[in-house]
């Protein structure tokens, strides 16, 4: 594909959706949960489509989309008043990680984490961004981003000890 590119012409947006749609949906889902994730995904790609012709050539499209998704997810959390300004784990009983429900249970366990942990885990582990870039999106230092993700992972491990056997 890359070899056929016509000069610096932009990729058709359809290709952007095909290439990055799944990742953005996973990010939205990790941060918002199943129901709101699809709304946030749609809002993200509509906003991206609007701004796309003005995007500079050679931009990191994935980081651009994740940044938009980050803001759209925050809008949803604010609208539904789920934006809790605390780093405390919400009081919620840990689910037992039965092997069959492992995958879907992981989403739920992610939802139970504080926002910053969900965000840093989503951007670093689901998208694959380095912590420096994660920090640029969530704010704060690179170290703080790394710590938040590590705390989140530790909490997930407590919920899903059986995951270690995989």
């Amino acid at each position: 594909m890359a070899t056929k590119r016509v000069g610096v012409s932009p990729q058709p947006f359809e290709e952007i959706v095909a290439e990055h749609g799944p990742t953005v949906l996973r990010v939205c889902r990790a941060i918002l949960g199943r129901v709101d994730a699809e709304d946030a995904w749609s809002e993200t790609f509509l906003a991206a489509l609007r701004a796309y012709p003005r995007l500079r050539a050679n931009s990191n499209i994935e980081a651009w989309l994740v940044t938009i998704a980050h803001r759209k997810a925050l809008d949803h959390l604010r609208a539904s008043r789920r934006l809790v300004v605390t780093d405390e784990l919400p009081e919620r009983p840990a689910r037992d990680g039965s092997p069959e429900g492992w995958e879907s249970g992981l989403w739920e366990a992610l939802e139970a984490l504080p926002l910053k942990q969900r965000q840093t885990i989503a951007y670093h582990y689901l998208v694959g961004m380095p912590y420096l870039q994660v920090a640029e999106i969530v704010g704060g230092s690179e170290d703080a981003a790394r710590r938040a993700a590590a705390d989140g992972i530790a909490a997930l491990r407590k919920t899903f000890p059986k995951g270690e056997s995989r």
Binding site: K4, F13, E14, L25, S42, F45, R50, L126
Partner: protein, 201 residues
């Protein structure tokens, strides 16, 4: 010890139904917001898979598989707008007309056209091509004359070769003065097929 990345590799991938639903939702929202600058789809025909692309103004591009549909879409992104989505419903009408044409139930196209990809004399040439009736042919020289530049026979050839709307704008009806079929954007075989289709009607 398990690697963290593997923990998330176990998350289910997005299933096909969700992808389709989200894509449709994006197309609808983009249409409603006036952000769908180019809609496209493909259609299977006796001359192969055709790419159809439309702006809100009308059909802007018909492309043969030999033109490389990915490349055609990239050029549309550059020359018209990168706000391009696969949106088959937006091309239902033209797809139906093309199907009717190949079924010999239609001899002229009524779908609105957007000729923005053609400029100057080439565009003038294209605007004269529908004057060649269904099942008829005209020579490059005759078209040059009709377009007001009788000596520009070669330019008529390049106008046909770069026709952004083959099949619908009938450059396949332009042949050489000696009666041989001449070149065609979709290949000589496709040109033969279209002329045979029309003459059999």
């Amino acid at each position: 010890m398990m690697k963290e990345r593997d923990l998330f590799a176990a998350l289910p991938t997005i299933d096909e139904a969700v992808s389709r639903r989200l894509h449709q939702r994006l197309v609808d929202a983009a249409s409603a917001a006036g952000l769908l600058d180019v809609a496209y789809r493909t259609i299977e025909t006796p001359v192969g898979t055709l790419l159809l692309a439309a702006t809100p103004k009308g059909l802007v591009r018909v492309a043969y598989a030999s033109e490389d549909h990915d490349l055609v879409l990239e050029r549309l992104a550059r020359d018209v707008s990168p706000r391009i989505l696969r949106a088959p419903a937006r091309l239902d009408r033209v797809a139906r007309e093309i199907e009717e044409y190949f079924a010999r139930r239609r001899s002229t196209f009524d779908t609105p056209l957007d000729l923005r990809l053609s400029h100057g004399f080439r565009r003038t040439v294209l605007s004269h091509l529908p004057e060649i009736g269904y099942g008829k042919t005209a020579s490059y020289a005759a078209v040059a004359k009709a377009a007001g530049r009788p000596k520009a026979v070669r330019a008529v050839g390049s106008a046909c070769a770069t026709n952004p709307l083959p099949v619908v704008v009938p450059c396949h009806r332009v042949v050489r003065s000696d009666g041989t079929i001449g070149q065609y954007v979709g290949g000589v075989e496709a040109k033969h097929m279209l002329l045979a289709l029309e003459s059999a009607a």
